[in-house]
């Protein structure tokens, strides 16, 4: 195992006290003069929280921005589905919260696999985000006196989560979207909806543009720029069934990887504990319910394996409130990975409930008795309605049944402290990068990171890139654009002309099942080795036997999906390889060989206290693993415990 720092991975983290680093970095960043700003073109791919906020903020500064999204409107990016809330160290509740506590909680929540510098900056910026969003007219929940309201989230002992009922992501995204629309009106920003990024164009080692498919006409289009920001979200749909949107994909990130951007920690996937269980073969997605439900709901399974009594017939004495039993301090509010794994452990041991025994109860009866049904309805009404709509069961009467589902991916393209990938000029923001959540993300932190990256970090660091790098003017007539365009075109042609017997979805489903079985909540050396072979076999069959109807010159949703699944079939192997190489358990990455006697994750800090970033070599050769060591000076490196 190579453990030396790779020269490719210069994190550019400032030195000195962790609390001063962001200020120090900002002081050193170069500026672009106001009248020069209008000469620069910036491309932003993806219009979720990170993309929309970055595009709007950069445009406000005076740059010309082009924003791309595959949806029909930037407002539909999947950030919209985040329910629970957004963390900020405001200490409005006087519960002794602070930037330092949010920093420490996030480092600990990430199981000591994230950069201290980045996480501290995130905690610092958290307070500005709330202010910015309130000023945009985001209708956060408020108290009767008119002050902002907070609630508690997993992995924390304070109330620092700001929320807008169960639709926080929606409201924050609509805020960022409104800023985007304003800049479009001003004229310094143009949105290109229904465009899917298929390649990044690198000229003289610097990212200078992108190739996109116009999803309405099918035409391939090229755009040149002085900086490219990828805010393309996570890759959870690799698992087919996930809480992500159907269109979410790894393609943009994967294309960048193949052009030289290193992919960091792909095996860090988050399985969210409170999702509606799978209920049929035909199912196309899983629905998450905010973990804020764990504030009032108690998780339990029957004491006796195979107890088939209906939940109301099982007296308290025969119930096992296993989270409260195992983790008395945090109880039902343990970090997500811990809650998910505990559910899986109970189900695997035969204590699961519902058809197939693949779920646990989330019981509100005590909360309803204590606070009344009306209070519970006010807090979680929309989630209860959603549950009832999908399952046809009334959660006010019977406990909900929940099971973990793939939800968020902490891994992503490697970025330095400036959020720049290993390709200069290519910045990666939000879930698409790897930086801030380590091996496990805490609840209500994704929104915080996306907006911190977009509103407050990228505008400074991208300016620095533009100010310091001598950028020759390039247009899309440059031969490199032609070359990328031709490669994309031939790939499309290839997909359309296989004319096999299986549908794209059938491959995706099979791949997802493989990933879930071998590379899901628990992973083993043997399983990972075998799944790599299986993925290769499936990929080989895909390129021989997939059927993609229609042509490339029209709106062709099957072609879109085929391209995404083709990339997943390559990416899945990398994820498994990363999981195999990281022979320790940490956060969402659980290796069966590395666990405590209570079945909790057991880290191997001696060998794995580092970021692993993978470098593409060639399609038929293994990628190269590079290492960025992690140091912990401000939060002591200890075994995480929620007991």
């Amino acid at each position: 195992m190579m453990t030396a720092a790779s020269p490719l991975l210069n994190g550019r983290c400032p030195t000195g006290p962790v609390a001063d680093r962001w200020q120090k970095c900002k002081d050193e960043l170069k500026l672009v003069s106001p009248n020069n700003k209008r000469k620069f073109e910036i491309i932003v791919v993806g219009t979720g929280l990170a993309g929309a906020s970055a595009a709007a903020s950069l445009s406000e500064l005076g740059y010309n921005v082009k924003a791309f999204c595959f949806q029909d409107s930037p407002r539909r990016a999947h950030s919209i589905a985040a329910q629970g809330g957004i963390n900020a160290a405001k200490n409005y509740q006087n519960d002794n919260d602070s930037v330092n506590r949010l920093f420490a909680d996030t480092i600990k929540g990430g199981d000591f696999r994230s950069r201290e510098s980045n996480v501290h900056r995130l905690a610092e910026l958290s307070v500005n985000i709330i202010d910015q969003c309130v000023a945009q007219g985001v209708p956060f929940a408020r108290e009767y006196g008119g002050l902002l309201s907070n609630r508690t989230f997993g992995g924390s002992l304070v109330s620092r989560t700001f929320y807008a009922r169960g639709q926080t992501g929606q409201q924050l995204l609509l805020g960022a979207y409104s800023a985007l629309m304003r800049q479009q009106h001003v004229g310094r920003l143009k949105v290109f909806p229904r465009r899917e990024m298929l390649d990044v164009v690198v000229i003289d080692g610097v990212a200078r543009g992108i190739v996109v498919r116009n999803l309405v006409t099918g035409q391939l289009e090229t755009y040149a720029a002085d900086a490219v920001l990828m805010c393309t979200g996570g890759y959870g749909t690799l698992y087919y069934l996930s809480t992500l949107a159907k269109g979410s994909n790894v393609t943009a990130a994967w294309r960048a990887y193949k052009r030289g951007a290193l992919f960091a920690n792909p095996c860090y996937t988050q399985i969210h504990p409170t999702c509606i269980p799978v209920h049929g073969e035909y199912q196309s997605k899983l629905t998450l319910m905010s973990e804020s439900l764990r504030n009032d709901g108690r998780v339990w399974v029957p004491q006796k394996a195979g107890d088939t009594r209906s939940p109301d017939q099982i007296p308290d004495a025969d119930r096992d409130y296993y989270l409260e039993r195992r983790y008395p301090t945090y109880g039902n509010m343990v970090a997500r990975d811990v809650a998910s794994r505990a559910a899986k452990e109970r189900c695997d041991a035969g204590f699961g409930v519902g058809a197939g025994g693949q779920s646990v109860y989330l019981d509100f009866s005590e909360a309803i008795r204590r606070d009344g049904e009306a209070a519970i309805r006010a807090r979680y009404g929309n989630l209860f309605d959603m549950y009832q709509k999908i399952t046809d069961e009334n959660p006010y009467k019977n406990p909900m049944r929940i099971y973990p589902a793939v939800h968020y991916t902490m891994g992503g393209l490697w970025v330095d402290y400036h959020l720049q990938s290993t390709i200069p000029g290519l910045f990666v923001l939000g879930e698409a990068n790897f930086s801030d959540h380590g091996a496990n993300r805490l609840g209500a932190s994704a929104l915080m990171q996306g907006l911190a990256d977009g509103y407050f970090i990228a505008p400074y660091t991208v300016s620095n890139h533009l100010a310091t790098r001598k950028l020759e003017k390039v247009t899309t007539d440059h031969p490199e654009f032609e070359r990328c365009l031709a490669e994309t075109r031939s790939r499309t042609y290839k997909l359309l002309n296989i004319n096999g017997k299986r549908t794209v979805d059938s491959f995706h489903r099979e791949l997802g099942k493989l990933m879930w079985d071998y590379c899901g909540m628990s992973r083993s050396d043997k399983g990972l080795r075998s799944v790599i072979q299986k993925i290769r076999g499936l990929r080989e069959e895909f390129w021989r036997n997939v059927r993609v109807p229609g042509s490339g010159n029209e709106l062709n949703q099957n072609l879109e999906q085929a391209g995404r699944v083709a990339d997943f079939l390559e990416f899945g192997e990398l994820l498994a390889l990363d999981a195999l190489t990281r022979a320790e358990s940490c956060g969402g990455h659980f290796r069966e060989e590395s666990q405590t006697k209570d079945n909790d994750t057991l880290r191997d800090d001696a060998n794995f206290c580092h970021v692993a970033a993978w470098q593409y070599t060639a399609d038929d050769r293994d990628p190269v693993r590079h290492i960025e060591p992690l140091e912990f000076n401000d939060v002591p490196l200890i075994q995480r415990s929620y007991k």
């Binding site: 209708p139 408020r142 008119g146 159907k246 196309s284 959603m386 407050f456 017997k501 949703q557």
Partner: protein
């Protein structure tokens, strides 16, 4: 396991924006009542692809009722028969074995059909560019608690802000009016102190853009409210009207 269903689907097929479309009839079998409507269409599409036909194009993304991408006029009702539900959250248990289901795209001049059941709703974005925002550059914000907002107003603003921009209001209105959509955004910002400085220009700009897109007028039939998957109230349209009257009286133009 509940029994499965067989259904007859009458689906609008149209190759591109300029070609003439037509209804085509398909049969699907072994549909589970626990399947969502879109999952039923997935089954149809898998079947079509295997049979060498082109699958039906339809917009969808989050499949949890929040992104607003899915649409569909199902048996003459926007998002189907269930109230306060998007098509992706509509389950097949709302239908019976042997049913015939007519599936059409949203119909409105400003929502041209792109293919099959996919329509172009960018008119909504263009309306938003004309005032659906607060002019506040990043970094300019005062402390989040500096301005107190009565809970009642914050809650009402939130309710208006939950609009998912799906276009069901337009689809269901006999006049293809976008008044509910516009009123939701105007209301959200009219109810909050942050929205006050641009109150006048906002309503004027957004209404002018709405009109120039070719949406119809409101005749207060309340069909929009009934079709809205998130229950945006027509109370917002009244507020929009008030804002418009006010802007006409106090506005400079």
């Amino acid at each position: 396991m509940s029994p499965t269903m067989s259904l007859t689907l009458k689906v609008w097929r149209q190759a591109n924006p300029t070609s003439a479309g037509e209804f085509r009839t398909y049969k699907v079998h072994s549909i589970s009542p626990d399947q969502s409507f879109l999952e039923m269409l997935d089954v149809l599409n898998e079947q079509l692809i295997i049979n060498g036909e082109e699958p039906v194009a339809f917009d969808h993304d989050c499949r949890e009722g929040i992104c607003g991408m899915c649409s569909l006029m199902i048996n003459g009702q926007a998002h189907g028969p269930e109230r306060k539900t998007t098509t992706c959250q509509l389950h097949m248990r709302k239908f019976k074995d042997g049913d015939t289901i007519v599936i059409e795209p949203w119909r409105a001049k400003p929502f041209p059909v792109l293919r099959d059941l996919v329509v172009d709703r960018s008119a909504f974005d263009r309306i938003m560019t004309k005032g659906g925002y607060v002019t506040v550059n990043t970094g300019n914000a005062p402390d989040g608690n500096a301005i107190l907002i009565p809970k009642e107003n914050a809650d009402k603003a939130f309710e208006a802000a939950t609009c998912i921009g799906c276009g069901a209001c337009v689809a269901a209105c006999k006049n293809a009016s976008a008044m509910l959509f516009v009123s939701a955004k105007v209301s959200q910002l009219a109810l909050l102190p942050q929205g006050q400085p641009e109150r006048t220009q906002r309503v004027q700009g957004m209404v002018a853009q709405m009109d120039s897109e070719g949406f119809g007028g409101c005749t207060n039939t309340n069909e929009c409210e009934a079709a809205c998957p998130v229950g945006i109230s027509v109370e917002n349209i009244a507020r929009l009207n008030r804002e418009y009257i006010r802007a006409t009286v106090v506005g400079l133009t």
